[in-house]
Amino acid sequence: MCLAIPVRVVEIDASGDAGKVDYLGTKIGANFALIRDVRVGDWVIVHAGFAISRLDEAEARETLALLRDVQDAGRS
């Protein structure tokens, strides 16, 4: 019931409140009424059929950079 992984928005209907996300290669329906200004290509967290948060790409990059530092430290 909880897709803890981010999924990509692939379709938004005319109302803007519903559409489809790509979940491991399958298009599944999702409701976007709880997040604002969603666009095709956005990454979102879907829970019980509803997107509850949009992934912040700048923050994601920063976390990955942090992990990369840890990885590099382990290589030395």
Binding site: C2, A4, P6, L34, A48, G49, F50, S53, V70, Q71
Partner: protein, 379 residues
């Protein structure tokens, strides 16, 4: 936007050694409660429980499984509805149907003529059922925390807007901060800090946890759901312990905004009001549950069917789920664990839910991910 880095072995090892270094200076030893059932699952599935123990951090599970903390009275009310009323479809998430009560489980219940139990994945499916079955009454039995509640009430609101009169929600809605206060102020267990739930926090933000640091001096971090996320969260908490600077740190900033999701909270505030709810194992906690405001009585199954969930229902004999939800014991300490209580024959909800501590311990018991893989490949 998913990355192997979150599961990379060198990353995991590196974070663990940083955690070990920070935890070594702590006396007494570090004990963290992970509040979210999905965290419990991640921690066990990836073998982090043992790895963290070796790094000097004991992880204990808390009240973060909505199926588990919903008292039997609610489950019994749902069973009564579908067995006593004709032409009623009770829609709910799958694990809710298998919770054993004095009346059996929803799954084993014999519905009244024309009635049925239906498993759904989203509350919107219940709305579809209501549109397709105008002569039947649909009741969505929804248990959840702040993550799930907005989706359910938004769906109820849509039903009202469409003028659908044949759908109502049996609410088992719980909020996360009040039980944390109950657990800490009871003094029943010693905790050095909290790993806060990632997706509940995506809705409520960081402020609702501030009292834990301010009033009780306990550190905490919001964490995501990859192994790297969990370890970043734990690292933050042990660093706060070492620095003696308890706070609420957001270790999952790619998903959680400090202010949470105001639109989702607005939906909750519009439809719901807090009440002093009864939790399994934790008893009655002030302002810890949410229910429909009187203005929305039309979609409130408790009003529509005059339901009063029994409050005298206790755990089935021998089941210690309540103590597990308070973090007082861990599942193997229950004498029924993995013996008469197993996922196929659960004696309590903690063995039913995929997020239940007993289920998770049973599924991943005594094995690292590598051992499980080799067991699988050898048949």
């Amino acid at each position: 936007m998913t990355s192997d880095l979150f599961r990379d072995r060198r990353v995991v090892a590196g974070l663990l050694s940083e955690i070990a270094a920070a935890a070594a200076s702590s006396s007494p030893p570090v004990r963290l409660m992970e509040v979210c059932g999905t965290h419990t699952m991640t921690i066990h599935r990836h073998g982090l429980k043992d790895l963290l123990a070796q790094a000097g951090v004991e992880m204990i599970s808390g009240p973060g499984c909505p199926v588990c903390i919903t008292p039997d009275g609610f489950h019994e009310a749902a069973i009564r509805l579908v067995t006593e009323r004709e032409n009623l479809i009770l829609a709910t998430f799958g694990d809710m149907t298998r919770v054993p009560t004095r009346l059996g489980s929803l799954q084993a219940a014999v519905p009244a003529p024309g009635s049925a139990v239906k498993i759904v994945y989203s509350p919107e499916e219940a709305l579809t059922l209501a549109r397709l079955n105008p002569v039947k009454d649909i009741v969505f039995f929804g248990a959840g925390f702040e993550t799930t509640i907005p989706a359910i009430v938004l769906t109820a609101g849509r039903a009202q807007a469409e003028g659908l009169k044949n759908i109502a929600v049996l609410t088992a809605f719980w909020t996360i901060p009040p039980p944390l206060r109950a657990i800490v102020s009871s003094g029943e267990i010693r905790i050095s800090g909290f790993l806060y739930p990632g997706h509940v926090s995506a809705i409520i933000g960081l402020e609702p946890y501030a009292f834990v640091a301010r009033e009780f001096g306990l550190p905490g971090a919001v964490a995501g759901f990859e192994p790297g996320d969990i370890l970043l969260g734990v690292r933050s908490v042990v660093e706060q312990i070492r620095a003696k600077k308890p706070a609420v740190v957001n270790a999952y900033p790619r998903v959680v905004r400090p202010e949470g999701n105001p639109a989702a909270r607005e939906v909750m505030n519009r439809f719901l009001e807090p009440y002093d709810a009864l939790w399994r194992g934790l008893g009655r906690i002030p302002a810890s549950g949410l229910r429909f405001k009187p203005a929305h009585a039309a979609v409130d199954a408790a009003v529509k069917y005059a339901l009063r969930p029994a409050e005298d229902a206790s755990d089935s004999p021998g089941c210690r789920c309540g103590e597990i939800l308070r973090g007082v014991i861990s599942p193997p300490q229950c004498r029924l664990f993995s013996r008469s209580c197993r996922p196929e024959s659960p004696r309590g909800p903690c063995m039913v839910s995929f997020e239940g501590a007993c289920y998770v311990h049973h599924k991943y018991r005594g094995s690292s991910p590598a051992q499980r893989r080799s067991r699988k490949s050898h048949g």
